[in-house]
Symmetry: C2
Subunit: 405 residues, 2 copies
């Protein structure tokens, strides 16, 4: 099985799980903990209302196996056959339990524009700034003929549509879209396949647009989240979105990495928690860079920044000398999406390949401060369900309710 950058495959990390019979060494939670059950979790047939977003099939499958809902991020897949291969693997390694797919499909469609057209829109001055910044840190070039492994082209509608052509052949239960509502025909197609459609929202206004577009689930993603975020923090955003789209179910995203935080998200009215960052340093994840894993494990909650450096839209990520260079008022500044992503794609590949520490970063939320050791998905999941239980018990005591006996 050929490795794809940023994706960890069965053959590499799941060697002991060669047959699906061996996938479930013990029933999750051994029956000790009750499920975390909401209307949405029941609808999706999932034991715990914990949704895990990850670019790694091995992580997504492990989340689903643990009793959560694994959501595979598709943005890094350029070739449809690579996505097909990984969805094959996911399906084999989730034993019939539900999982989903996350695509990045822009709400605004630009007709007939190719990647080459978009590349041509990038000013020379910005290309020079990329090279100067890399040169300042002595970042080597890629080898002659070596392709840039790191590309985010999945947000171009053409690419996302190719992904969907593949995805609907697999038993996905949820299709999430990271940028705006998906086009109407995609929503219809998903519904025809019995697939729920989710969309991320950073404000109540966005969430209302999604609801009007006919989506089924809103992921309210707060300021503290990794990746693309708005400025409203989860504590305020989640109940605003819950109110705005009632009775649609809402997932709380942003700042969640413990069971207590899951409980907080649910207390705010969400029907589940959506966690992304926390899986980046799991044993099943494969960032292809020990230096990056080490940076994530060392980073505190104050070591991220909301920057346009990576995609052209504000996305929370590790603060690095790379983000500083793009956020520097004396630099050329960033380009709009999708130009910025194309502009920096090869540079990011070079930084990652040669592990140039001061420039090395990744999208991650403020919860990075809690990511201090590499652990299995199952261990983190057990912490989440136990922490949730503890929080609910404690709240019950504070409210003067008798403990369950």
């Amino acid at each position: 099985m050929q490795a794809v950058d940023g994706v960890n495959h069965a053959g590499e990390s799941q060697k002991s799980d060669a047959s699906s019979e061996n996938l479930f060494p013990r029933p999750p939670h051994c029956g000790i903990l009750p499920p975390m059950e909401t209307e949405l979790s029941k609808k999706l047939g999932v034991e715990h209302a914990i949704f895990g977003f990850t670019p790694f099939p091995a992580v997504a499958a492990a989340i689903t196996r643990a009793g959560g809902f694994g959501v595979l991020g598709a943005v890094r897949y350029t070739a449809p056959d690579e996505l097909a291969r990984d969805l094959d693997w996911m399906t084999k390694h989730t034993g019939g339990k539900p999982y989903g797919l996350d695509v990045v499909m822009p709400a605004k469609k630009v007709e007939g524009v190719t990647e080459a057209d978009v590349e041509a829109m990038i000013p020379d001055g910005h290309r020079t700034y990329v090279e100067e910044t890399l040169a300042k840190h002595g970042v080597p070039e890629l080898a002659q003929g070596e392709a840039s492994g790191w590309r985010i082209t999945g947000w171009m509608e053409e690419v996302a549509r190719n992904q969907l052509d593949v995805a609907f052949d697999y038993p996905i239960k949820l299709l999430a879209n990271a940028l705006g509502s998906p086009p109407a025909d995609v929503i219809t197609r998903a519904h025809d396949h019995g697939v729920l459609v989710a969309a991320l929202a950073g404000s109540a206004r966005h969430a209302r647009h999604h609801a009007e577009a006919g989506i089924d689930v809103v992921v309210a993603q707060g300021y503290e989240a990794g990746g693309h975020t708005g400025e409203i923090a989860s504590m305020v955003l989640v109940p605003e979105v819950v109110d705005a789209v009632h009775p649609l179910p809402v997932l709380a995203a942003g700042g969640i990495g413990s069971g207590e935080q899951v409980a907080a998200g649910l207390a705010l009215g969400a029907q589940g928690a959506w966690l992304g960052s926390i899986w980046l340093t799991t044993e099943e994840a494969d960032l292809h860079s020990r230096a990056l894993t080490a940076k994530l494990l060392a980073a505190g909650s104050g070591d991220t920044v909301r920057s346009r450096a990576l995609t052209g839209k504000p996305a929370r990520q590790l603060r690095t000398e790379w983000t500083d260079a793009w956020d520097d008022p004396s630099g050329p500044g960033t380009l709009p999406m999708p130009l910025q992503g194309l502009l920096v794609a090869e540079a990011v590949s070079r930084i990652q390949k040669y592990e140039v520490a001061p420039l090395l970063g990744t999208p991650v939320g403020q919860i990075v401060g809690r990511m201090t050791s590499e652990r299995s998905v199952q261990a983190i999941f057990d912490d989440l369900t136990r922490g949730f239980e503890r929080a609910v018990e404690r709240l019950g005591r504070i409210a003067g309710r008798s403990d369950r006996s």
Copy 2:
């Protein structure tokens, strides 16, 4: 009773409450709701672990009467006798129930520096920019000899110490400090009077400093809060601070204005919730400006900004053309605390007096989006306790616990 700017007095708003016998028209919650009880709430002798910070004695007293813990902000009191008069009033109107005081005492002491010395440090260019910005909006001057009503001098240690000389004569149960830990002798003095000391923290590091300084309670104030804030959102900050200062009690602040949000804060490990913004539009509050109240009621969660415009340190407030002027890269920028506060004091008075809408603002958190009507403190308090109950019930159901019957 002479009115002090920004402070609402008994004689103005509590006319029907002339005698303390009439202050408790009905027992709070009529015995329907159980208390919201934590170790800290028991220690302070308060029914519900809801702490309300406010510059208005009438609001603080109403919070305490409702079964919460009212904390009066002292920063606007320049004259000790004004503070004494309002603490007299508070004591009479809380019927023996506990309340606290919030001062702003900088951690760093500057020996022998007077207000005049500090005034002299302000560059002329900044004074010119103030006048130009006011002129652009046609803001009239104050009348001849009219004093600037809006001054924030309480953060000068001398002023804060005068406040403390007054405060310890009253039965305050908690002394909170908004900027760093109070000096060691103040902590000792508070403890000698049986007064707990709280300090606000925007990061786990700040919180650890407070704990080492010997304070008793940490208020973990998230990014979404009104007033001085850091960059870490409550969802991430609260559990970090809880872990950092264990076993000291932590209050969750920032983004809290509903009972569901109180539940979320407590789920994160806090022993209570600390609410400030939500009281600004209560019937008992007196902003001395209908235009400002109207702006607050109309503002959404996205209409605030974390700006240095008011004090020189980042403080969340309504975004206005005044904050825009100071955050404008082509302007002179802000001065460090306490210079900025002194620089803008008279200007803010003029803007407030003449209610110049585009410039009119106030510190407030992202929860401002939930402040859509003027209500009594008791009505808000009832919402908080009922919403908390609802959230705890719902979490119990999600966790598979049977409802209280």
